[in-house]
């Protein structure tokens, strides 16, 4: 029933591109084996659509305010890093508390400079989720009231959920660790055993 919603959205905004529909599952296909599925594109089990970044705010406003959508609840905002396509997909999950239907929105933005307009004015709940996506994936939400890091410390370098992220221990932490180790050894705790 939510797939019908995607169709309605497409009627309203022709540039919105619905997810390719789920092909019916062949009976008897082995469970959890890729094989035949591999050649096909991914299966989208949750209905949704791709939205161009420039139209996002407009689409979002219609989705929130107008019948038949009425999607008043934003479950999460996140991103998926896809280095081989040089993209970051920003994912929004919207839900309607009254109608009980859900919709995924995906916005594809270039990986080098990922920028999307912030929807936190429409759904205040998106505020922290956008901060998290900014922190962990480096997506910049334009117009966000308070775009700071939320999980990592303010002086953290890099965005950990990027696929090419490499963790490097900061120098001070390495030194501190070595210092602690020397102190512990000085206590000769294990000798009691």
């Amino acid at each position: 029933m939510s797939w019908a919603l995607v169709e309605r959205l497409r009627e309203r905004f022709p540039e919105v591109e619905p997810f390719p529909r789920e092909a019916p599952h062949e009976a008897g296909a082995p469970v959890g084996r890729p094989g035949r599925h591999e050649a096909r594109g991914p299966t989208y089990h949750t209905p949704g659509a791709f939205v161009p970044a420039a139209r996002l705010l407009e689409v979002a406003r219609v989705l929130r305010d107008e019948a038949p959508f009425g999607l008043d609840y934003c479950s999460f905002v996140t991103g998926v890093d896809r280095p081989e396509q040089d993209l970051v997909e920003v994912v929004y999950h919207l839900f309607s508390m009254d109608e009980r239907h859900e919709l995924l929105l995906k916005v594809r933005v270039p990986r080098r400079d990922p920028r999307v307009p912030s929807v936190s004015a429409l759904w205040p709940a998106a505020n922290w989720h956008e901060r998290e996506a900014y922190d962990l994936l480096g997506v910049v939400f334009e117009g966000h009231p308070d775009l700071r890091r939320i999980m990592m410390t303010d002086d953290w370098e890099g965005h950990p959920l990027r696929k090419d992220y490499v963790y490097q221990e900061p120098r001070w932490l390495v030194d501190l660790g070595a210092q602690r180790q020397r102190e512990i050894e000085g206590l000769r705790l294990g000798d009691r055993a």
Partner: protein, 367 residues
């Protein structure tokens, strides 16, 4: 003569015992009144989402169990596995579905008991804590007999559960359920009739319905604000569609309503457990899934009702034996964001009462 006043910034936490973990609240006060609250989180961030990208689907069960909410290990596994089973189109046999339901509801009881006990301590009712932990201990013993773990079980598997129940376990659970209903009445006696308790929670920290939805509140917090939504009812998973239970909803939106929602939920959980045990079918407990299973390409968002609210897992598979991306939509994270809304305008003494009534677990907030 006008008194010169100015706003005071007060740091609560991160090492404050009543913030239930390492949460820092930057409270701006005007005299006793709260002007603004800015929660500062991230002290417990463990990057579970990143770690999951480097482990197989089976290994991730152990990770979901530990890396997220430490009071609701089984609910985490359920959220993660539901997404895996949806993407991989893995069937779960009926008996396993019922076993999972029983376990999830026991988990809800134990989690709500911890909430009630710790909230009682926050409000100065220390004895409630001891009573709640007495009952919780019995639930943990039941878990231990069935799964081998008390807090971290790793009991669910893609396509079922690990082991069947030990002999006589269901009888012990039923005996516990009967006794537990009496205990809930006892808690009611202790708290609901107590005028000091009522004065501290009734009408405090009101979150109206429209604000609750806009701020993304979920679970018991939203239901206390009049949002009639429970994933177990709206999108039934496991055996919930076949069992009868009520979803308590209250309109007031204050701390007392949140308390009553959870108390009623405990009764309903007992009801679900009793029904599920009565209906427990025989047969397989696990469908055949390889150890290092590879899922077909695809993505799904699965939502479950964890004791703290709407726990969702958004899983992207690229045909490998490990997920490409896992996004965990943590209920505490969303509820904590709504906290600002609840606290504005109340007195500083209410901070702890309101914070406790939201029931956050910091490892769930930070993941």
């Amino acid at each position: 003569m006008a008194l010169r006043t100015e706003e005071l910034m007060l740091n609560m936490g991160p090492q404050h015992p009543s913030t239930h973990g390492v949460l820092r609240l930057v409270v701006t006060l005007d005299g006793e009144n709260i002007v603004d609250v800015v929660p500062d989180i991230g002290y417990l961030h463990s990057s579970v989402e990143k770690m999951m990208e480097y482990r197989t689907y089976l290994q991730n069960v152990a990770l979901a169990d530990r890396g997220m909410d430490y009071l609701t290990a089984l609910a985490n596994e359920e959220g993660y596995l539901l997404a895996v089973e949806r993407v991989g189109r893995i069937e779960v046999p009926p008996r396993a579905r019922y076993l999972r339901t029983i376990m999830l509801e026991l988990q809800r009881l134990s989690s709500h008991l911890v909430w009630l006990g710790t909230w009682g301590i926050d409000l100065g009712a220390t004895t409630v804590f001891l009573y709640c932990f007495r009952e919780r201990e019995r639930i943990l013993d039941l878990f231990e007999q069935a799964t081998g773990g008390r807090l971290h079980h790793v009991y669910f598997r893609p396509g079922g559960v690990y082991e069947d129940l030990p002999d006589g376990w269901t009888d012990r659970v039923l005996a516990f359920c009967d006794e537990f209903l009496g205990r809930v009445d006892e808690y009611h006696e202790l708290l609901t009739g107590n005028p000091i308790f009522l004065a501290r929670v009734q009408g405090v920290g009101v979150l109206p319905r429209d604000r609750a939805i806009a701020m993304g509140a979920c679970g018991p917090v939203a239901r206390a604000s009049g949002v009639d939504f429970d994933v177990r009812k709206a999108f039934p998973y496991e055996a919930y569609g076949e069992l009868a239970f009520d979803v308590p909803v209250f309109q007031e939106g204050d701390c007392f309503a949140r308390y009553r929602v959870r108390m009623e939920e405990m009764r309903q959980s007992v009801r679900i457990i009793q029904q599920a045990i009565a209906k427990l079918p025989d047969g397989e407990i696990r469908s055949k899934v390889q150890v290092n299973v590879k899922l077909p390409r695809g993505e799904a968002y699965a939502r479950t009702e964890s004791p703290r609210g709407d726990l969702g897992v958004y899983l992207v598979s690229e045909g490998e034996d490990a997920p490409y991306r896992v996004k965990i939509r943590a209920p505490s994270f969303s509820n904590l964001f709504a906290l600002t809304e609840m606290m504005r305008g109340w007195k500083v003494a209410d901070v702890i009462a309101i914070l406790g009534s939201v029931d956050i677990v910091l490892s769930d907030v930070d993941r």
